[in-house]
Each structure stands twice: as C-alpha cells, then as structure tokens.
C-alpha cells in the first residue's frame, strides 16, 4: 500500500537535500464541516528523519502546518545509497514510517 510519505533525497557532494510531502489532513479542530459540526483536531505533531543511526532533523508541528504538509532541509555526512528513515506521529496516536535510499 502506498505510504503516506513521499520523499526525495539527493546527495551532491557532502550535502544531502531532503524534500518530504506527507498525505495528512492536518485538521486544526477549529473548522466546521458542512453539517456545522467541528471537525476534531487531527494533525502530525512530530516528524523525525534518521540517517546512519542518528537523528538528522526533527520537526515539531502545530495546527498551522498546511494540509498534505511539505518540508525541505539539507544535512551533511551522508552519501548516495545510505538509508534515510522517516517517521511521524499525530495527536490521535496515528503514525507512519518509511525508508528511502539517498539518490
């Protein structure tokens, strides 16, 4: 089943650029649905990137992060073929994880 995480990690020289797009509603809990009831808050709280056994980037997110959230960053110390592990957990205890090869 397709993971909810789309990631593109490309290494040039010692710097690896990482882009991630995650399929998630990121509901704020402040919005009403068509029947006028509040849609409960449902948003990713923590997104973690690990490479070679080390955290390379940790995101703590609030309700102001867009639906289908996107993030881009770069880090040093990895090379083509290394594994990049990505995992997120949301406020309802949901989570997903995937591993991508650095291109």
């Amino acid at each position: 089943m397709a993971s909810s995480i789309r990631v593109r990690a490309t290494a040039n020289g010692d710097i690896t650029e990482v882009q991630a797009l995650i399929q998630h509603p990121m509901d704020t809990g402040l919005v009403k649905d068509s029947k006028g009831e509040l849609i409960p808050a449902h948003y990713i709280q923590q997104l973690k990137f690990e490479c070679n056994g080390k955290d390379v980037f940790v995101a703590d997110w609030g309700t102001a992060v867009s639906k289908d959230p996107y993030v881009k960053f770069s880090f040093k110390g990895a090379k083509k073929g290394d594994d990049l592990k990505i995992s997120w957990t949301d406020n309802k205890g949901g989570s997903d994880t995937t591993t991508a090869k650095i291109a």
Partner: protein
C-alpha cells in the same frame, strides 16, 4: 429588505454599464470559421501580453504575476497533486472486475493522448470530453461511473494529462455542420453573461486577466484548460474541468448545469480548440 434590493440592483446595473463600455470593438460575422476564430483569439492575447512567452499562457495566473510565479515554482518542486497522480497511475493499472482496464478503452492505451480531447464524435453527433470517455469506459465494463467533480475522476485525468505533458494541444473539428455548431455553441457560452453578477467567462478571462479578484490573479482564457485537472489550494484538493466550470458558475451566482452538460462539453471544445499549438501542462497546481 427593500433597501437591500435597491443596493443589489444598483450594483448590478453598475457592473453592467462598466463591462459594456470596455468590450472590444467588433463586427458581426455569421459564418462559423474556427480557424479564423482561433487565430484572432491567440493574437488578442499575444498582443495584449507581448512579453509573455506563448507557451507560458498555459500556466494561467502564474504567467501574469512574478510573485505568484515564484510561489508556484516553489510548490512545483514537490507538487500537492503527487498523490492524485500516483492514485491515477494505480487505478490505470488495476483491472476492472471483468479483467479489462482503462487502457483497453483508449487509443495507445490512454497514454499520451490527452491533447486530442475533447473530440467530436460523429456517431453521437456531440463533443466527447476525456472525463465523459473515462466514465463511459467504466460503464462499458460494468463499473459504476465516478462523480465528475470528485477525486477519483481527477486522479484518472491527472495521470492521463501527465502522460501528455509537453505535447501540443491538437483538437480537430471535422467537416461536419454539427461539429461547427458545437464549436459555435461553446463560443456563445463563453461570451454569454450569466448569474446575478452578470459576468461571462470573457468578463474575467478576456477583459481582465492579470488583474486581481481579491487575492487571486485572473488567468488568461488562452490555454486555460491546458493544465487541467488542477490541485487548488483554495479547495485543498483536486479539481476536474467539470468542478471548475460548476464553481465558476456559482461564483457569479448562476445556478450551475449538471456536470458534462452539452454547454460545458461545447465550451471545453471551443477553449481547447483555440489553444491548439500550446503545450499540455496538466496536472497543474493553482491558488
């Protein structure tokens, strides 16, 4: 209640007067000549926006405003329609209950053919759009048709558009009076004012592309369907051509027709034909 009505009528007639004054000077012509119409249509935009590259018109509002174009290019690095695209690819690969797939319904397996849609079906005597052909394929294979305005249809057309990216729009009008009538009917719909706002498609997309309606920059009509289907941030979801037509109608306070009504099929035929020669850029991301 009474004051509100007069206010409403005042704004209506003011909008009317404003738009009639600014309409370009035209001479009546009754013979339907799509080739001439397309040339005039394209030249109108090429002259109105001389420094916009011709193929850039298909990028809608982003061809009109640098700041918006920058925001768009940033989004295109990892576009929000990725999920619809993957879903469409998966749906194309998943056979129906009877074992057939979409590839069996379309020439070249449905790959790289979006630029020929919509086409005029001489057996039916009507315009057939990509969305209609997809649902007919589903029905022919015993499947329930998809809603024209929901994500499943958008995923399918997103994938088919993606396989045609860069190919030039290539709509044909056969030498058949019914095809010419459909083209003319589409043109008439495009220029006809409707809704309490009394706007036609042209009021926004011919007379004021590049200008703002509140936060949004209006797209030029030339190539406006080349990026379909589009992921709109405003809907925070995918939008098919049908969804765009229906919401545009309700924006002008006109009650929309049912999706894939003849008028919508014909106006899609008209708008696609006059964009012949411009590249397909779908699926697109829009405000």
């Amino acid at each position: 209640m009474k004051a509100r009505i007069h206010l409403l009528l005042g704004s209506l007639s003011a909008a009317l007067v404003a738009f009639v004054l600014t309409s370009p000077r035209v001479i009546a012509a009754d013979k339907v000549d799509p080739v001439a119409d397309a040339k005039a249509f394209q030249n109108f935009f090429f002259q109105k926006f001389p420094n916009v590259k011709h193929e850039d018109f298909v990028n809608g509002p982003y061809s009109m405003n640098e700041d918006m174009k920058r925001q768009w290019q940033e989004k295109e690095e990892f576009p929000p329609y990725e999920f619809a695209l993957d879903a469409g690819k998966e749906m194309f690969a998943t056979p129906f209950k009877n074992g057939k797939t979409y590839a069996d319904c379309f020439p070249n397996g449905g790959i790289g053919i979006r630029q020929n849609y919509p086409y005029f079906d001489e057996k039916e005597g009507k315009v057939v759009t990509l969305e209609l052909a997809l649902n007919r394929c589903r029905e022919a294979n015993g499947e329930v048709p998809y809603s024209y305005v929901k994500d499943e249809m958008a995923s399918l057309t997103a994938y088919m558009a993606y396989t045609s990216r860069g190919k030039l729009m290539d709509i044909k009008i056969p030498d058949d009076p019914r095809a010419l009538a459909a083209f003319e009917n589409g043109k008439r719909y495009f220029y006809t004012r409707r809704g309490q706002m009394n706007f036609s498609c042209a009021s926004c997309h011919v007379q004021s592309p590049g200008e703002r309606i509140r936060a949004e920059i209006l797209a030029p009509a030339l190539g406006i369907l080349n990026a379909m289907p589009i992921y709109r941030s405003e809907w925070s979801g995918m939008g098919t051509t049908s969804r765009r037509f229906v919401t545009c109608n309700s924006q002008t306070r006109a009650v929309p027709l049912e999706p894939q009504a003849d008028e919508y099929r014909d106006v899609e035929y008209f708008l696609s034909y006059v964009a012949n020669g411009l590249p397909i850029s779908g699926p697109g991301a829009r405000p």
